[in-house]
């Protein structure tokens, strides 16, 4: 097949053949490196999955990768039968979902305003958005503000102050600016209101952008343990990320190395792995669906800004 083509094109075949040979060494090296890096990215996750299904015996007998010879769900049972974990899971779902809707609504409206090139006062509005990106009161004044609003031990307090910001707005604006102007103009000529233009034309045409920013907010909220740790003192409200952190940290006993193998630590390793997988699963589940969008989304956003 290859030869046929080579014969067919005049003059080029010798050059092409030569190049193919020279390139191949590099190509092999490059492929090898990429394969290694990809494996390195996946290895820790695979490691934890295997660990979570392994038994104590498997764990003790293996050096590197743990092969769950005695495949079992015991580690998951320990996690899921703890009365706190399913509730923490639900709290996390609630916080993530409500925060997503809340912050996207505010961000989208602001981005739409910013996309209006000839709106009087736009510059002032933009500066108003920008200042908090450069300058902030810092952790303690922010915390004291939330405390004075009674946002401690209050799920609302974990939603209202978060997820809105200049960065998201600017990125979204870049997507909105991509929507062809004549679509908007013709809609306006037909008397469609500005708000309906946003809802009916701009949002459907900026799906990649919306998906990208949504993913950021979603993952950020799902993984957030920091603000729950600061704002919540009642464990009955802890979301999954904080519960995860507490579970993982409670077994850091082996940080003080006395050399002796503690049976409890071994046991805890599998339990930790199961806990990690439980926390990771929702992200893994939405990841393939959003991946296509966010790559496109970041590319447009990046080139534009």
């Amino acid at each position: 097949m290859m030869e046929n083509i080579n014969v067919g094109t005049n003059g080029t075949p010798p050059v092409r053949k030569k190049k193919k040979k020279r390139v191949s060494v590099w190509t092999v090296l490059i492929y090898a490196f990429i394969v290694l890096f990809t494996l390195a990215c996946l290895f820790p996750i695979v490691y934890e999955v295997l660990l979570s299904f392994a038994s104590k015996e498997d764990y003790l007998q293996s050096d590197f990768l743990i092969f769950p010879v005695h495949f079992n769900f015991e580690n998951y049972k320990i996690i899921l039968l703890q009365d706190r974990i399913p509730i923490a899971f639900l709290i996390s779902v609630f916080l993530t979902a409500v925060n997503l809707v809340y912050s996207m609504a505010i961000d989208i409206l602001a981005a739409y305003v910013l996309a209006q090139r000839d709106l009087p006062g736009r510059k002032i509005f933009f500066t108003f958005l920008l200042i908090p990106m450069f300058f902030s009161g810092g952790l303690v004044p922010f915390y004291l503000t939330l405390r004075s609003l009674n946002f401690t031990n209050n799920l609302l307090g974990l939603i209202l102050p978060f997820g809105v910001g200049g960065f998201n707005v600017i990125l979204l604006r870049n997507f909105f600016a991509q929507v062809p102007n004549d679509i908007i103009e013709s809609a306006k000529l037909e008397g469609v209101s500005d708000f309906r233009v946003l809802w009916q034309f701009i949002l459907p045409l900026s799906k990649a952008g919306i998906a990208t920013i949504s993913l950021f907010i979603l993952v950020g909220k799902w993984n957030d343990w920091y603000w729950p740790m600061i704002l919540l003192t009642e464990d009955s409200l802890f979301p999954l990320a904080l519960e995860l952190r507490n579970v993982l940290n409670s077994t850091r006993a082996d940080l003080i190395p006395d050399g002796s193998v503690d049976m409890n630590v071994i046991f805890a390793e599998g339990r930790n792995a199961a806990m990690i997988i439980v926390a990771l699963l929702p992200i893994m589940a939405i990841y393939p669906f959003l991946q296509k969008n966010f790559v496109k989304g970041i590319m447009i956003g990046a080139i534009k800004s």
Binding site: V140, L244, L248, I283, Y287
Partner: protein
């Protein structure tokens, strides 16, 4: 409806009036505002949000200059000038945190910054489509894993008594290493986990830049007998240089913003000596110990330097780009 329009627009038009002058212009402006009142309504939520959660807390900065008494409130407490700042430099914790912040940022610039560029250049050489797609899916994934989990994985891989790495060392006849408690291993662990998490994700922007290079450049090079490696060096790299510079300047502007999440989850009291940075110190001082004024002072110190750095970075980017990072390109 007409009524509503007018009341919504008036205050804003009043504001604009002072900016632009000329009566005829004003009439035109008023017409425009009347037509666009919906946009001003749409601004309200974010303005309210920023006023409450960003602008109002800025006032709390005065804490850094006060002797805070909860009973008197922030404003009622006594002014004490720069005492908190003077105390900061006398304590060993603060200079140490400042030093560690700079060291970690420097290491990140040297090792973490080039990683995605290299990776993107290599990925660009991959021509097998399904393989490229699979690779990209895999290397973006770590970016979505929280530092709590990464720290958990690091702990289970490196733990002294039962970690996989130590198991291997032992089976090779070497002795076990206290990776998690020895300060000298902290930086390598931190940098490697940062690369693991962010290098793949970081390629997106460079791949976008590479894909916008004019393919005729490569064709011309090929006709001239240019090898692929050379083409990468002489065409791809120079073409994406502007983006690299912008990203670099931005990274330098963020030198004092160390990766709080990573450090906070990976460090422990035995590694504070090398791992404690400004952000973690602010947290421990302010939230753990409740020394609000001191934590605010440390935070303010950082904010001011950061502000200067970011502004300078933005200026440099503006020179390269024509417009700054924080500016809307028209």
């Amino acid at each position: 409806m007409e009524q509503l329009e007018r009341t919504e627009c008036l205050p804003v038009s009043e504001q604009i009036k002072s900016v632009k002058n000329g009566k005829q212009k004003n009439d035109k402006l008023r017409k425009k505002l009347k037509k666009k009142w919906q946009f001003y309504v749409m601004m309200i939520p974010i303005i309210a949000f920023l006023l409450v959660f960003s602008y109002y807390p800025m006032y709390g900065i005065v804490l850094a200059f006060k002797d805070y008494m909860p009973s008197k409130g922030i404003w009622g407490s006594e002014w004490i000038g720069f005492d908190h700042f003077k105390a900061l430099f006398a304590l060993p914790d603060f200079p140490r945190a400042f030093r560690n912040t700079l060291i970690i940022s420097f290491l990140s610039l040297v090792f973490c910054f080039p990683a995605p560029i290299l990776l993107a250049l290599l990925l660009n050489e991959i021509k097998v489509k399904w393989f490229k797609k699979f690779t990209q899916t895999a290397i973006y994934l770590p970016n979505f894993i929280s530092w709590v989990i990464i720290a958990g994985i690091v702990n289970s891989l490196l733990s002294y008594s039962s970690g996989a790495v130590n198991n291997i060392l032992e089976s090779l006849g070497l002795s076990r290493v206290e990776f998690l408690t020895e300060p000298k291993y902290f930086y390598p662990i931190l940098i490697l986990s940062q690369i693991w998490r962010d290098a793949g994700w970081g390629t997106i922007i460079y791949i976008a830049a590479i894909s916008s290079i004019d393919p005729s450049l490569y064709e011309a090079a090929q006709i001239d007998g240019c090898k692929r490696l050379k083409a990468t060096w002489y065409i791809t790299l120079p073409s994406i240089m502007p983006i690299i510079i912008i990203m670099f300047v931005q990274a330098v502007g963020n030198v004092l913003n160390s990766n709080f999440d990573a450090i906070f989850n990976l460090y422990n009291p035995t590694t504070y000596e090398v791992a404690d940075v400004i952000d973690t110190l602010v947290y421990r001082t302010g939230i753990d110990k409740g020394e609000f004024e001191r934590a605010t002072a440390i935070g303010l110190f950082k904010t001011v330097i950061n502000f200067i750095l970011l502004m300078s970075a933005n200026k440099i980017v503006k020179k390269i780009n024509g417009y700054g990072i924080y500016e809307v390109a028209e």
